[in-house]
């Protein structure tokens, strides 16, 4: 892979697909915004074509492409293009009291699963075997359902403590089924068996969707004779290599808001701030901490399924530039319906017949757009509605604040023109250049990260030895995902002692991040070799019988 020069960032949102090109001095030299298409690939192709046509751009200088999309979420919601997965849980004789996917919506479970089994195996919280892994039972299960399976999802009890049973099970899958997509829970989620298992199964189901998006992107680039290194943005606002994303597509599911927040940080050169991202239909409020989105401590539900991977901590409200305004029996109504990408046709200022919040912003003098005189007959309705929207937004922002003092707010997104300059509790509203493409900028400037979230036992190496091991592993994961080893740093570290136990066990979360690097493939192999070494190192120290 060449040294980074120009980068193409793409963000596929609910309303628009945005693309930017940034040069090696991190300047935005071209941007494009095109409406989304139902199959998403059309929007990606159009955005790439448009931005590459910009006169400032020399396409052959594009060395890296980064894509962020919420497409995977929609695939789950719509049960579309999902692959069928064989589900294996390693945890017997524990965990039989709740079967895999017991609480899933039945139609989603039917669409995704070719069968599920719980076999003996799994790990204890202190690293011992819960029970010996029943390899024969795995082989028998695969013999039964293997023909129908397009992927296999493997989840071991306490995989975050040691992945060794999942790695062994993956070898059996390879032996029985050959090269099939395998999802291992320790690479995907943290403590919480059912939520991690759910995320692992969804990961297997989404492998085909990720492949389609990757193919569309590569096809559009190939049409311009471009073969840049390709990355996907992930939930925490960092990047993963395309190969990684194809293995772990579920980790890209929340990348949209993360990109906007990271983009806002970059465009204003502010590492800590509140960020509001106003789109056509909805508004996200998030928080920047050390240049990254603050993460939610709670799990997220996707299509009615509980998961537990880390997502940006957001408050989302149905408020955007296209939000429709009407007068109902109880006074003015603001949304939740939006004209969406049809705003250029339907909003009053653009010659349409539907009053929207964009019209409200024009009426209040917050923006100069289209034909301002067209809003005059609606002035009272629009003023009332904008006042209502201001209160909704102020409330959402207040929910995300963690301290009483006034703070600055960065406003980004195409709809942010409707954000007032005076908001209670906000010292200043910062509106950066290229605010309308902050999401694509966020994708283009993202760094590459690796994360560890495991339970460690304080052994002979002591607490520091344990933390060192966690940091080393996070760094290796960052490098495996494509980070330049010379730039990788620990950006986040958290220790959580376990409650109700008089035993020195600690849950450790470490994240390392670094700049885009050269050759991720070699490092990926080093990482996998380390995993195998680690599995050998963490063999049980006490018999489980």
């Amino acid at each position: 892979m060449p040294a980074p020069d120009c980068r193409l960032g793409i963000d596929v949102g609910g309303t628009n697909t945005d693309a930017v090109i940034m040069d090696n001095a991190d300047r935005v030299i071209a941007k494009a915004k095109v409406p989304c298409t139902p199959d998403i690939t059309g929007g990606i192709t159009a955005a790439i074509d448009t931005v590459l046509r910009s006169p400032a751009v020399k396409p052959q200088r594009i060395t890296h492409v980064m894509l962020g999309t919420t497409h995977a979420t929609n695939a789950v919601l719509e049960r579309r293009k999902l692959r069928r997965v064989a589900v294996i849980r390693l945890g017997g004789p524990a965990t039989h009291s709740i079967r895999p996917m017991f609480e899933w919506p039945p139609d989603l479970a039917d669409a995704v699963s070719v069968g599920a089994t719980i076999v003996d195996g799994g790990i204890e919280f202190d690293g011992r075997d819960l029970s010996p892994l029943d390899t024969d039972a795995i082989a028998r299960f695969l013999g039964r359902v293997g023909d129908a399976a397009q992927g296999v999802a493997i989840t071991s009890v306490f995989a975050p403590v040691s992945p060794r049973h999942e790695l062994l099970a993956a070898e059996i899958v390879k032996r029985e089924l050959g090269e099939v997509h395998v999802s291992l829970s320790h690479e995907i989620g943290s403590i919480g068996l059912l939520e991690r298992e759910n995320a692992t199964i969804l990961n297997g189901a989404l492998a085909g969707v990720a492949r389609d998006v990757a193919d569309a992107m590569r096809g559009a680039l190939a049409a311009h004779q471009l073969r840049p290194a390709t990355f996907f943005a992930q939930n925490d606002g960092t990047l993963m290599s395309l190969d990684h994303a194809l293995r772990y597509p579920v980790l890209t599911i929340g990348s949209g808001p993360a990109n906007s927040i990271r983009g806002a940080a970059f465009l204003t050169d502010t590492p800590d701030s509140l960020v509001v991202d106003v789109g056509g239909t909805s508004t996200d409020v998030g928080v920047l901490v050390n240049g990254f989105p603050r993460e939610s401590s709670l799990g997220v539900e996707i299509g009615g399924v509980r998961t537990n991977f880390r997502m940006p901590d957001l408050v989302t409200i149905a408020l955007g530039g296209g939000t429709e305004i009407s007068r109902g029996p109880d006074g003015v109504r603001v949304g939740p319906h939006s004209v969406g990408y049809l705003i250029q046709r339907d909003a009053l200022v653009f010659g349409g017949q539907i009053p929207t919040l964009t019209d409200g912003a024009v009426a209040a003098g917050r923006a100069a757009l289209g034909e301002p005189q067209r809003v005059v007959p609606y002035r009272q309705l629009l003023t009332e509605a904008l006042g209502r929207a201001d209160v909704m937004l102020a409330d959402a922002i207040d929910r995300m604040k963690t301290s009483k003092g006034d703070r600055a707010l960065i406003a980004v997104g195409g709809g942010s023109i409707l954000v007032s300059d005076r908001i209670p509790g906000i010292s200043e509203v910062v509106r950066p250049e290229h605010f309308d493409a902050a999401n694509a900028v966020g994708a283009a400037i993202a760094s590459v990260s690796g994360q560890v979230d495991r339970i460690f036992h304080i052994g002979p190496a002591g607490r520091q030895g344990m933390l060192d091991e966690a940091c080393d592993e996070a760094r290796e994961r960052a490098v495996a995902a494509g980070a330049d080893p010379r730039t990788v740093q620990i950006v986040e570290m958290e220790e959580i002692p376990l409650a109700y136990l008089n035993s020195p066990a600690i849950r450790v979360r470490v994240k390392a991040a670094g700049a885009l690097g050269g050759v991720p493939e070699q490092h990926l192999h080093a990482h996998l070799a380390r995993q195998t070494r680690l599995a050998a190192l963490t063999e049980p120290t006490a018999p489980s019988e």
Partner: protein, 360 residues
């Protein structure tokens, strides 16, 4: 029989168990799923009143013991309850007639139902706390002088220990240590007793109360928090937002404090909650608003869902409520076991309604 615990009733019960957990006892979600699966596999469990059982009917109080972090990962097999029953019968030479939750608050309010379904036994409409507490002897059976022995503890593999301890305190020590060896969590029964004993040694109708709390919150149009407060006669301490959370784990227990900043009509007020697994004390400007053994619960202001201590975070819109514990906790012995001084605080217990009356 009072009623059958069908899936809808179980969902309501889980919401109620969260409220009665007073911040502790763990998230009832996994207990709910186990009860739902067992109900699907074996049919619904009957809820019975203690008065409907013969005097000499043996009741098995039971639940899980150990670290919530382990329970959310190493989920039960489902046959633990039957094994506890078999060995309790073997040790006592008597037949178990019904199952009881040792602790209605949190996950332990649901787990015994999953086991009862598998065994085909009824669930008693009572429990040993009327809320959640962290330690084995913090139960009403202990206050009534019932022996915790013989206690039985088992894991999902079939390992099993019978405990005979000289006191509740020793039982706590021995069981806690064994739970760690079992992998951080285990299933157990202590304080087995007859129906005649249980009529005076348990918190009665607590399962029905939890179901009623859940049904009130779900059924209330518009204002579930207000409906819930009216239904159980709780005191609303403050409505506002969580503005500070401080948590640390010492000697196996989560300790910390939460500040709730008043909003709307409560603007300008700051309420501080002290927690050790459960919410123990609510304070305003150094004045006590409520304390253990009365219940203090943090509810989502919109949905009236109770928020357990490990899930409280900045910015949440919450209503803090407090309500009276079972009268047995207000006796001298009850206050000694579970009053403020039992948790290391240097003040005397005053019932929540007296504290509210003094402010009014």
């Amino acid at each position: 029989m009072k009623r059958l615990l069908d899936p809808d009733t179980l969902r309501a019960l889980a919401r109620g168990c969260a409220v009665l957990g007073a911040g502790g006892g763990g998230d009832p979600y996994l207990g709910l799923l186990q009860a739902m699966q067992a109900t699907e596999d074996f049919g619904p469990v009957a809820l019975v009143d203690l008065d409907d059982l013969p005097d000499d009917a043996l009741i098995m109080p039971c639940g899980g013991i150990g670290a919530p972090t382990v329970s959310i990962e190493k989920i039960e097999n489902g046959d633990e309850g039957a094994r506890l029953r078999d060995h309790l019968e073997y040790v006592t030479g008597r037949k178990v007639a019904a199952v009881m939750a040792c602790e209605i608050g949190g996950a332990n309010g649901l787990l015994p139902i999953a086991w009862a379904a598998g065994m085909g036994l009824p669930l008693v409409d009572a429990d040993g706390m009327g809320r959640a507490f962290p330690e084995v002897p913090q139960v009403t059976m202990h206050l009534a002088g019932i022996s915790p022995s013989p206690a039985v503890m088992t894991d999902e593999r079939g390992n099993l220990i019978v405990f005979r301890a000289i006191s509740g305190h020793w039982m706590e020590r021995l069981e806690r240590a064994a739970a760690v060896e079992f992998g951080g969590a285990a299933s157990s029964t202590e304080f087995s007793l007859t129906a005649a004993q249980a009529r005076g040694a348990t918190v009665r109708n607590s399962v029905s109360l939890a179901i009623r709390i859940g049904e009130t919150a779900v059924g209330a149009a518009g204002h579930p928090v207000a409906a819930l407060i009216a239904e159980i006669g709780a005191f609303r301490l403050v409505t506002g937002k969580v503005s500070d959370v401080e948590r640390r784990t010492t000697r196996g227990f989560v300790r910390g404090s939460v500040i709730v900043e008043g909003l709307g009509g409560d603007a300008g007020r700051l309420i501080r909650l002290e927690l050790q697994n459960e919410n123990l004390v609510a304070l305003e400007r150094g004045q006590i608003l409520a304390s253990v053994p009365d219940l203090i619960s943090v509810l989502d202001s919109e949905t009236a869902d109770a928020i357990v201590t490990e899930r409280i975070r900045y910015g949440q819109r919450v209503t803090v409520i407090a309500f009276g514990c079972d009268p047995v906790w207000r006796t001298e012995r009850g206050i000694a076991v579970a009053g403020p001084r039992a948790f290391g605080y240097d003040f005397d217990y005053v019932p929540v309604e007296e504290l509210a009356g003094a402010r009014a």
